[in-house]
Amino acid sequence: MDVLLQQVINGLVLGSMYALVALGYTMVYGIINLINFAHGEVLMVGALCSWSVVGFLQPLMPDTPGWVLLLISMVLASIAAAALNYAIEKIAYRPLRNAPKLAPLITAIGMSILLQTLAMIVWKPNYKPFPALLPTTPLEIGEAVITPTQLMILGLTVVALAVLSWLVNRTRLGRAMRATAENPRVASLMGVKPDVVISATFIIGAVLATIAGVMWAMNYGTAHHAMGFLPGLKAFTAAVFGGIGNLGGAVLGGVLLGLIESIGSGYLGELTGGVLGSHYTDILAFIVLIVTLTLRPSGLLGERVADRA
């Protein structure tokens, strides 16, 4: 029981980060029907930029509290990641909007590899320790523990979701985004510029991914060039699981996937009689994906759309 509570906490924390990244995937897919394979890499770039900023500022401002440094680095990294994502969309995806269907997919995959490789070159391939900017003494909840970092992840996610929700539901841009996702042609006839909306989507996605990336690095203590790939894929799974194109679905899918992975990894060994150990945790996400697409392709919160001839 105590183990379960711990797994649940870990799962919620993991799930929050997945949710933030899943939102980026689902927003982009909802608007331009593209799986942005490179989205996970944006997480990585955000995390590494933040690491660089912290590494640069820390010796200069030794008395500043950790959370201030964290915040500054997050802001700066978000700006960098947003600029990067904006550029990627403009240079690599926009020209291919009308190309044969495989082309944008290949470009996206290529972009993912390019970003990883460039990161390897710029930051060198070694695992970098991410400084502990928040106090490390964990708080006890029953028999489980939760660190301040983990609390912050949960808190920050809630704040980010609130801001996003406000943006999407109460601003002009948000309306434009929803309209474009629903019907791009009609939206453009109403005066919405699709390019602006799409760029905005990529920028927002990048900011969310950066937050997730920095949190990830803080939570696990390291940052490196390959850190974004697997979480990116899993976040995509979460988006599909929750219902692609549906923001609430992305969050729900993310949290659920985090819980499934966390609890699953704890009990996999027991459930399979020792045949499958926790090494197999990574494929849990894929299994969730396959099961979702086979049994309920529209996802948990997605709409059922009939295939019209």
């Binding site: 470009t107 894929f286 697409l293």
Partner: protein, 362 residues
Amino acid sequence: MTHKLFSNRWFMAVVLLALPLLLQSFGNAWVRIADMSLLYVLLALGLNIVVGYAGLLDLGYVAFFALGAYLFALLASPHLTEVFPWIAAMFPDGLHLSLWLVLPLAAGLAGLFGVLLGAPTLKLRGDYLAIVTLGFGEIIRVFLNNMDHPVNLTNGPKGLGQIDAVSVFGYPLSKRLDLGFVELPSVTLYYYLFLALVVLSVVISHRLEYSRIGRAWMAIREDEIAAKAMGLNTRNLKLLAFGMGATFGGISGAMFAAFQGFVSPESFSLMESVMIVAMVVLGGLGHLPGVILGAVLLAGLPEVLRYVASPLQAMTDGRLDAAILRQLLIALAMITIMLWRPRGLWPTPEHGKNLNPQGGAR
């Protein structure tokens, strides 16, 4: 003038046959590059059936390569006899299956898995199909990496070694062949074997392309609903494409295992699947010459660049080594070629294909 020369079959045959002899003189390493390129051509041809003909974006194709490799590794190395005493008892001289048995087995196993892994994807659309197949590829790799306990089937990350060389008519290709006027080292012998397999695969692919089945696949690729409306059983046809394409992967894998003498899960990563997809798409989807070109370029060029890499590595303080350079080039190729030529470097010609002037099938 040069183009005519290259399309003359006899000229190409002579060039291809003489190539290793020429490369030999510069060092066996160059023949090795040619050998690996041929194996990649095989993989690209196989994936071409799935992606190029049937339009099914498989991002986990390396799984079939891995299955073929591990099958050969298990059936032609000491591993199984060492781990399972009852197998050692059955095969006191060890497991050394011959080429003629392994090839159909590898093709069969891979083909079976092609159908199995393809089955859940039948109703999925492009992007989702890609991700699910990617997932399958990863699942297979994770299994290969972890099946060393409770029962040591694959030896996990340590991989399987001491794999027999292939023997053709009793002659092991690991020994050099002295023909008197010329000596053929092992790498060259493998070259001819791989070349034969590639030629066979090209013939099979070509025949499939210009056939009722090939047209059916392409119809599915173009418009699945219209294909169904014309009476095509798209489910079975897709499974056939997955299975057929997978067999090429399995055979290539088995040959890889024999050639290297060693296999480990590292060789079968997602990056490999991506690279093979890149070869097919960048070369020219569904167009055999383009696919071969794509494979040769993406497999061979980075190897050649290794020689350029060392000075670059020194210049950039160790950040740019051969592996990174290769990855960088592949990524840039994928992006730039799609932006510049979305149909590939050498796609099917615009004004329709040239039907055989004699009419009907070839």
